[in-house]
């Protein structure tokens, strides 16, 4: 040790780092110790594990960025999930986040969106990122969110004892696949590329120097960057597979090294290969024959933040134009009469405008009549022709329950809706029907008031049978009188297509006239 005590104390003073009282690790001996939490070290990784090398490469790329790109390491956050690799977040002396299993990327997404200046790096294992968190990987890549995902792939679930994972090569051995894995693995660079990542690379830990360069590029990349690091699992995976020399007692203590030497033999650097062909080729004994590695993809595309900002600008423009028309709304004198809770059921088949009729009533009450309104819908899976119903609740006081308890008023425009809803009408309630579409059966309820008009015919005479709902609305307004007529007219004018406003208002007027003549 040529550095001596001087070197160490000097380093500690610069770091302003308090060494914990109890620690197995003397901090300050190694140049990378300033980015390590000495109190948590030595790490748990086995002899010959590649994770330590992945961590060294990561730290050296960060140090390079700090020195040459002026990075502030206080603005770097490391997120990891569960597993051997997941412990990296606990070992680096940066802002770090050790999250639930598989959910490292969602946590990182939240961090990045809430604090866009933060450089967020997810470092986790293949079980965490490609296994339980596979969905999060593809969706973060799809959004091209500006985070870096480093997936350390050791081909199996190492921490739990070496079970088959989503990246275990076909025919390779694992503790739960002693005769060869019958599943097919993920090609992670291809998965990330296909999902929309804009920077994709793969290295083995043996190529630590190139891995460091790639990590620098990945960390400075704007957009989703994905780096797969292939690392030996000296205890679990290498035990069962030829490159770790299996159970040969001579090599028991050096399995990781044997795997590293094997990587030296089979690693093939090819930056221009399509990620689809970036395979890890394995023979039927589970021996790795070829690992294609390199920086496969580096694209410049608008990232998630840019896309959000772009869309927000457009939305604001659109909203300002909308607001202009809303501000021009006619102000009606607010209704003086108090309205107790009124429940209205509308029913018919899809395409008759049952939903829009309900919406027009609700809008007339809530926007133009200064009442409270609540609108719900129920319909079958068909868009047109199926059974459809909508429910409106109107009251002067706030509505605490949005659904109907017992409707007092009903607009029914089909026989199916009649069969379905009329039994629910409160005794003494008002039932309005289109008397051409609904035939009253012999056992029709006597305790309710039933009125009918030929709404469809009125609309057809006006020129468009799709305005039948407006005729019913005019009729309902005259009969019930819950909502003012001028409020309904304003609401219709705002809800229907501009070309049909006049037609609809005419039909409304016709329906209203018939309603006034009815003897209640």
């Amino acid at each position: 040790m040529s550095t001596g005590e001087m070197h160490r104390s000097e380093r500690l003073r610069i770091l302003n780092y308090d060494t914990p009282a109890v620690s197995d690790w003397e901090t300050g001996l190694h140049p990378m110790d300033d980015l390590l939490r000495g109190e948590r070290l030595p790490h748990i990784w086995c002899q010959g594990c590649g994770l330590g090398t992945a961590l060294t490469s990561f730290i050296s790329s960060l140090k390079w960025l700090e020195k040459n790109r002026g990075w502030d390491l206080d603005k770097v956050a490391v997120v990891s999930g569960i597993g051997c690799t997941g412990r990296i977040a606990g070992y680096v002396r940066l802002d770090s986040f050790h999250t639930t299993h598989g959910r490292a990327i969602p946590f990182a997404t939240g961090l990045k969106i809430a604090n866009p200046d933060l450089k967020v790096i997810v470092i986790s294992g293949d079980g965490d990122i490609a296994g339980i968190g596979g969905n999060h990987l593809i969706h973060a890549a799809r959004r091209n969110l500006s985070i870096t995902v480093v997936c350390v792939n050791n081909f199996n679930y190492g921490m739990t004892g070496g079970q088959v994972g989503p990246t275990t090569p076909h025919e390779a051995r694992a503790v739960t696949a002693q005769y060869g894995n019958y599943e097919f693995p993920f090609n992670l660079p291809y998965l990330a590329t296909a999902s929309g990542a804009s920077f994709v690379a793969r290295w083995t830990v043996l190529h630590a120097r190139r891995l460091t360069w790639t990590l620098r590029n990945a960390l400075t990349h704007s957009g989703f960057s994905f780096v797969e690091i292939i690392a030996p699992c000296s205890t679990a995976y290498a035990r069962w597979n030829p490159e770790g020399k299996g159970l040969d007692p001579e090599n028991l203590r050096r399995r990781g090294l044997e795997v590293m030497k094997h990587y030296q033999k089979v690693g093939k650097i090819d930056h221009d290969v399509h990620p689809k062909d970036a395979h890890v080729k394995v023979n039927n004994q589970g021996e790795i024959l070829e690992i294609i590695e390199g920086e496969f993809l580096d694209e410049t595309r608008p990232d998630f933040k840019e896309a959000i900002n772009q869309r927000a600008d457009l939305a604001e423009k659109y909203w300002l134009s909308e607001k202009g028309t809303l501000d021009k709304r006619k102000v009606l004198t607010s209704r003086k009469k108090r309205v107790p809770r009124k429940e209205i059921q509308l029913g018919g088949f899809g395409g008759q405008g049952i939903m829009s009729a309900g919406k027009i009533i609700g809008m007339a009450a809530a926007v133009f009549n200064n009442l409270q309104a609540c609108f719900t819908q129920s319909y079958g899976p068909e868009a047109r022709g199926g059974a459809a119903g909508s429910q409106v609740v109107i009251a002067s006081s706030p509505i605490h329950h949005p659904h109907l308890t017992q409707p007092t008023s009903m607009i029914i425009m089909s026989q199916g809706a009649y069969d379905k809803y009329v039994a629910d009408l409160a005794p003494g309630g008002v039932l309005l029907i289109d008397d051409e579409l609904v035939t009253l059966p012999a056992d029709h309820r006597k305790d309710i008031k039933t009125f009918g008009i030929s709404a469809t015919k009125i609309a057809e005479q006006a020129g468009n049978n799709r305005a039948a709902n407006t005729a019913m609305l005019g009729f309902w307004t005259a009969v019930e009188g819950i909502v003012d007529k001028d409020a309904m007219q304003e609401s219709i004018a705002e809800s229907v297509p501009p070309k049909t406003i006049k037609l609809n208002l005419d039909v409304f007027e016709a329906g209203h006239k018939i309603g006034l003549t009815i003897d209640k």
Binding site: S2, H30, W45, C46, Q47, G48, T53, T56, S60, G256
Partner: protein, 102 residues
């Protein structure tokens, strides 16, 4: 053996030199540094550290070229290189290779 032919720019050639530092007690004896040192200046030692592993030791320190690969590959932060400056080839202890005669 005195060299009778020398490159003209011999005085201007500078070779990077590194000083190897090994933190014995952190070593887990994985052998990465020994195997992948491009100058092959590390060997496994007979010493035993507190964990019971044999840490590496330096056999020909003057040949270290400060590439830093051992520090990058070491999973346990147990080895690093300090910059030992640059020196001209005279200071290098040459590696003598003898052809087998006969």
């Amino acid at each position: 053996m005195p060299l009778w032919r020398q490159p003209l720019d011999r005085d201007r050639i500078l070779i990077r030199h590194g000083i190897v530092n090994i933190i014995d007690d952190r070593c887990k004896g994985c052998g990465f540094c020994i195997e992948f040192c491009p100058q092959n200046i590390l060997v496994i030692s007979n010493r035993t550290n507190t964990k019971g592993y044999h840490p590496p030791e330096v056999i020909s320190g003057m040949n270290c070229i400060n590439c830093g690969l051992c520090a990058l590959l070491c999973p346990d932060f147990a080895i690093y290189i300090e910059d030992g400056g640059e020196h001209t080839p005279e200071n290098v202890v040459p590696i003598h290779r003898h052809e087998v005669q006969g």
